[in-house]
């Protein structure tokens, strides 16, 4: 049967898988295979093909190899991919605070590498709190240059809870802080921060799915287990109501989560098409404005 949802965008995506008037800009992507799970489209050409078919106009990625192994080698992989597909890919320079010397020169390295627009921080996996000193050089640089910084966040985390990110948001008001996963599970704090901090955006990756880590044979896969949250329906509506759709950006973790699964959750949320445009591309386009040089 035909959906009662009156959104022309929802119908267009359902029928054609994409929308000319509403491209997707994904601010949370990755690159390459992941050690802890099989990701079918993690091989390069296949991911590019899928992104184009799903209506993704641009995706900003960080390399799994940079986040989970050697930052220099992984960031170089990301750079090579951006050079190959500059019309589709941009990069977040992955920073690992467990290598302070690399973190200290990350700003200079990133600035010298064409195609990167900001930084990616992954405190839960690197087991260092977002407030630790090793992150200071890149956060100061992002603040000075008004660059986006994608921070993995999770409710209840000892390393990147919304409360810890709030300290950073207050300290670096000119950096564009993207709360990856929107402080998953601590929706109230995250929504309030999205409302209160002009430089902070709620990024939706993973917010399309319940996370019950007891169902996963290997749990959350982080050094310290993440909190489960067994339901997410209505979160997008809640964020729009509390923080405003101007403060929400779209992400998928691709090659993890399908852009269509994620977009479907936005398209069939009970919000307006204006909100959907904001979330799916407009806000991201503003953040990336002037940062992408073709």
């Amino acid at each position: 049967m035909r959906p009662g949802n009156p959104s022309p965008l929802a119908h267009e995506f359902l029928e054609t898988g994409r929308s000319e008037s509403c491209p997707i800009i994904d601010l949370h992507g990755h690159w390459g295979p992941y050690y802890g799970a099989y990701l079918p489209v993690a091989c390069n050409d296949r991911m590019i093909g899928v992104l184009r078919r799903r209506g993704v106009q641009r995706i900003v990625c960080s390399a799994h190899d940079a986040l989970f192994a050697d930052p220099d080698r992984g960031n170089a992989e990301m750079h090579a991919a951006i050079q190959k597909w500059p019309d589709l890919l941009s990069g977040f320079w992955a920073v690992n605070p467990n290598y302070p010397d690399l973190a200290a020169r990350a700003s200079a390295d990133m600035a010298a590498a064409k195609g990167f627009v900001g930084f990616k921080l992954l405190p839960d996996y690197h087991a260092r709190p977002i407030t630790c000193d090793a992150y200071r050089p890149v956060l100061e640089y992002a603040n000075a240059m008004q660059l986006p910084v994608l921070i993995h966040t999770w409710g209840g985390s000892a390393f990147n809870s919304p409360q810890q990110v709030e300290v950073v948001a207050a300290k670096y008001p000119e950096a564009r802080l993207l709360m990856g996963h929107s402080g998953f599970g601590d929706w109230e704090t995250s929504a309030r921060m999205g409302r209160d901090y002009p430089n902070l955006f709620l990024e939706l990756t993973a917010c399309y799915a319940a996370h019950d880590f007891e169902m996963l044979p290997s749990g959350s896969g982080t050094p310290v287990g993440l909190c489960s949250c067994l339901h997410v329906n209505g979160i997008i509506e809640y964020f729009v109501e509390r923080a405003g759709s101007e403060k929400i950006v779209f992400g998928t973790d691709m090659p993890w989560y399908s852009p269509h699964f994620a977009a479907g959750s936005v398209l069939f949320a009970h919000i307006t098409d204006d909100d959907r445009h904001n979330i799916l591309h407009r806000n991201a386009a503003k953040i990336l404005e002037k940062l992408i040089v073709q």
């Binding site: 799915a209 007891e214 169902m215 044979p217 329906n233 398209l267 009970h270």
Partner: protein
């Protein structure tokens, strides 16, 4: 292309910690299905999972007036005598036209294995009643090994990819089916169809834990053939339920 959407993983009603949006009652569930264009749904009362099946399984009797909704019940170990004895349970299912069962071992705190359900599972096998199991794949393998004739639908297997655990089970156990609400990872639906064919994949949204539209758009635009899409969207579930002999 016309697709008849038959959601195999839906519930309605209040629970202690509800989603921000959920269906308080059947009418609200139908309204959400209308919003997304879902034709029919296999439904359990949320209280059967979040509280006790003893009090909440019978609530689905109210679905008889709604031809778009098919009721399901949750099971408990027969040894505690909380639900009707297995033979009587099958009789009650016949009366209520209940053609599938659910198992929530984490929530209801039991082992989903043959020794716990030795009186019930042979009856399910004989009647070809599918058992929807919200269960981690490690203990689920034990069940499949002990009861290879039991039709088991593994639900909520995600959102991370669990393929390294799952594929050996799919290879070994032809009565293992998979539901799609956990299949967020790009490419999994396509590779399932390439490797196993579409017959063992069932469309499920996980509503109200998740938005109904996510799983729907994913399957609507999956890179698979239209016959496979129709089968996963509803044909496979229809076939499973039609094969039940109560």
């Amino acid at each position: 292309m016309i697709i008849n959407w038959y959601d195999c993983n839906c519930s309605y009603g209040r629970v202690a910690r509800p989603s921000h949006r959920f269906a308080h009652n059947v009418e609200e569930l139908l309204a959400e299905m209308d919003w997304c264009g879902v034709d029919r749904a296999l439904v359990y009362a949320a209280g059967s999972r979040a509280s006790s099946p003893v009090t909440w399984n019978p609530v689905t009797a109210g679905l008889r007036d709604h031809p778009r909704l098919a009721p399901t019940w949750a099971i408990l170990p027969p040894s505690t005598n909380e639900l009707p004895a297995p033979q009587d349970l099958i009789g009650a299912m016949r009366e209520g036209n209940v053609r599938a069962l659910w198992s929530f071992p984490q929530e209801h705190r039991y082992r989903l294995d043959f020794s716990t359900f030795r009186e019930l599972f042979p009856l399910l096998e004989k009647a070809r009643i599918p058992l929807f199991a919200k269960q981690n794949l490690i203990p689920l393998k034990e069940l499949l090994t002990e009861c290879p004739g039991l039709i088991v639908v593994a639900v909520n297997q995600g959102p991370h990819s669990v393929e390294r655990y799952l594929r050996p089970l799919l290879d070994d156990f032809p009565n293992l089916y998979l539901e799609t609400s956990g299949l967020l990872v790009e490419g999994l639906i396509e590779e399932f169809c390439e490797r196993y064919g579409p017959q063992r994949l069932l469309f499920g949204s996980g509503f109200p834990d998740q938005c109904l539209g996510g799983s729907l758009l994913r399957l609507a635009q999956a890179d698979i053939g239209d016959d496979a899409r129709r089968a996963i969207a509803g044909g496979n579930l229809e076939r499973l339920l039609a094969n039940v002999s109560l």
